[in-house]
């Protein structure tokens, strides 16, 4: 009898896990806000990492393959973050915000990608790239704070 209860409980937990793993998430407005804020913060973190890696490399405090690995990891991470958020079905009242956040995310991904490309070429102090990363970091933090 005890065993049967345990099995049922386990089955319940497994079922709950399965439901939470559906291909497309459909959160309500509050949950979406939270997810978006989290994604924006994660993206800001990757942008700041890229920025720090380039700056350190420009001062010749780190060798090239180290910079490449750090920046490439940041790129991979930010792509994952952006993709995961893009796959979330925005609730009815949030389509506009979702578009804004999506655009900002795309901008961040593009900048980090461009920065990685520069880093691989050994061009660490491209001012346009650094400025864009700086602006992005602020924009992402602001957007995350607004959620």
């Amino acid at each position: 009898m005890k065993l049967r209860g345990l099995t049922a409980a386990l089955a319940g937990v497994l079922a709950a896990l399965l439901c939470s793993c559906s291909l497309v998430e459909e959160p309500d407005a509050a949950a979406w806000d939270q997810q978006a804020a989290q994604a924006l913060e994660d993206a800001a973190s990757e942008v700041a990492t890229t920025r720090l890696a380039l700056e350190t490399a420009a001062q010749e405090r780190v060798w090239s393959s180290y910079t490449t690995v750090v920046v490439a990891d940041a790129e991979e991470a930010i792509v994952t973050v952006a993709d995961n958020l893009a796959r979330v079905q925005a609730p009815a009242g949030r389509t506009e915000q979702a578009a804004d956040v999506g655009a900002l995310m795309d901008r961040a991904v593009a900048s980090v990608r461009a920065a990685r490309s520069l880093a691989v070429q050994g061009r660490y102090d491209d001012p346009a790239s650094i400025d864009e990363l700086d602006r992005l970091a602020t924009d992402l933090e602001d957007a995350a704070g607004a959620r």
Binding site: A53, T56, Q59, E60, R61, V62, Y66, V69, D73
Partner: protein, 410 residues
């Protein structure tokens, strides 16, 4: 003179061997998100591992029985097997993480994908486990691991506002943006990283390998009570570096490259080279320790000959287990799983698995049949029972916190 040298060597290798991939990643993550407000957990964990390791080291010295021998003797075959399953899974998970960590460290040098490098690392680990002498594994990698002291130098060089940094030491200084559940989750993770079960399996089995007797208790205590806390200082320095460089910029740590970045900021290429050497030594040393621990725990449960103090063919079963574990670990890494993610999981499960091995050791450490006059005194028992409570709480809290915070994200 020779004796002092032995003590010094033991302490130095204990410092260098204390930090592994779990400590590196978890301390940097916690520092980047919570500053120094979780340092008290590191202190708690380091004292805990001292208490645990001292008891099991003493038992190994006097009775020549290592941790898992006692687990089965006191808990019986059923609970013992459950325990073996839990502890071996966690140790194996850590083994995967350490091999992956070595590969990540080499990737930072060569920018060759860690998935590929991990295969060669696994092969190298197995050759070392098969051929190398026990003492040379411990001494060479332990001494190289001392390179991580560069984190303390880097922290000093970063020139933080020390009064501000030390004012973060209270839990009340948790950054307002982070919730208490996440704080508690990282607390459990840091505790698990400091008190990883394999450290004790390895330490006590190592005592049997090196044929300690009750005369070696003094040296063993010096290693534990000087080496581990100084190793803990490295953990705190790693957290401090992350707190100074990453916390103000809102960077969260997810890669080994990020962990080393503050040292580059502070000390440049040479410092960074030393840190990568430290990464390599710490993770390679821990890979050997965890690999051996998988073999130790299985052999000590089943009773077949184990250890590097006999020739490999006299402990053939033990060496087969090491080979199988290494091949499996390489196979898991070949799937491209992120070693950092494996690390994060392994430290939480370490906290979960701890009470089952801790409790039998605490009981046997009191048993005059095993220890005679060397059994636990009052202080050891007060601390022992205190940690029994702490470890139980951490173990119960581990999984719920992991689920609530989705591994510390929310």
């Amino acid at each position: 003179m020779k004796r002092y040298f032995a003590v010094l060597l033991g302490v130095l290798t204990a410092i260098g061997g204390f930090v592994d991939i779990g400590d590196l990643v978890t301390n940097a993550q916690a520092g980047a998100r919570f500053g120094w407000s979780l340092v008290w957990v590191v202190v708690l964990g380091v004292l805990g591992i001292c208490v645990f390791a001292e008891m099991s080291g003493r038992i190994a010295a006097v009775s020549h029985r290592a941790t898992f021998d006692l687990v089965r003797e006191r808990l019986g075959p059923r609970m013992g097997l459950l325990n073996l399953f839990g502890s071996m899974s966690v140790t194996f998970l850590t083994f995967i993480a350490e091999i992956g960590g070595v590969a990540l460290a080499l990737q930072l040098l060569s920018s060759v994908s860690h998935v590929l490098v991990a295969m060669f690392v696994a092969a190298a680990v197995w050759i070392v486990l098969w051929r190398a002498k026990f003492s040379s594994i411990e001494n060479v990698l332990g001494l190289m691991g001392l390179a991580l002291i560069v984190f303390a130098v880097a922290l000093w060089q970063l020139g933080p506002d020390w009064s501000e940094l030390s004012s973060q030491l209270s839990p009340a200084e948790k950054p307002a943006a982070e919730g208490w559940a996440v704080y508690a989750f990282f607390g459990v993770a840091l505790f698990g990283a400091a008190m990883t079960p394999y450290e004790v399996f390895f330490f006590s089995s190592g005592g049997v390998e090196e044929r300690w007797t009750s005369k070696d208790i003094g040296v063993m205590r010096a290693n534990v009570f000087l080496g581990f806390p100084l190793g803990g200082v490295l953990s705190v320095a790693i957290a401090g570096c992350a707190a100074v460089v990453f916390l103000p910029q809102g960077i969260t740590v997810e890669t080994l490259g990020q962990v080393g970045l503050p040292v580059a900021v502070a000390l440049g290429k040479i410092g960074l080279a030393v840190v990568v050497l430290g990464f390599f030594a710490a993770t390679f040393g821990a890979a050997c320790e965890t690999g051996l621990s998988v073999g130790y725990s299985l052999a000590q449960y089943s009773g077949f000959q184990w250890g590097k103090y006999v020739r490999p063919r006299e402990a053939a079963g033990f060496h087969v287990v090491l080979l199988v574990a290494t091949v499996l670990a390489a196979g898991v890494l070949l799937t491209g799983v992120d070693p950092i993610m494996v690390t994060e999981v392994s430290v939480v499960f370490s906290a979960l698995a701890l009470p089952l091995t801790y409790f039998p050791i605490l009981v046997v450490a009191n048993d005059p049949d095993y220890l005679g006059e060397h059994r636990n005194g009052r202080l050891a028992n007060v601390l022992g029972v205190f940690y029994l409570v702490v470890i139980t709480i951490a173990s119960i809290a581990a999984i719920p916190l992991m689920v609530i915070t989705s591994m510390g994200q929310g």
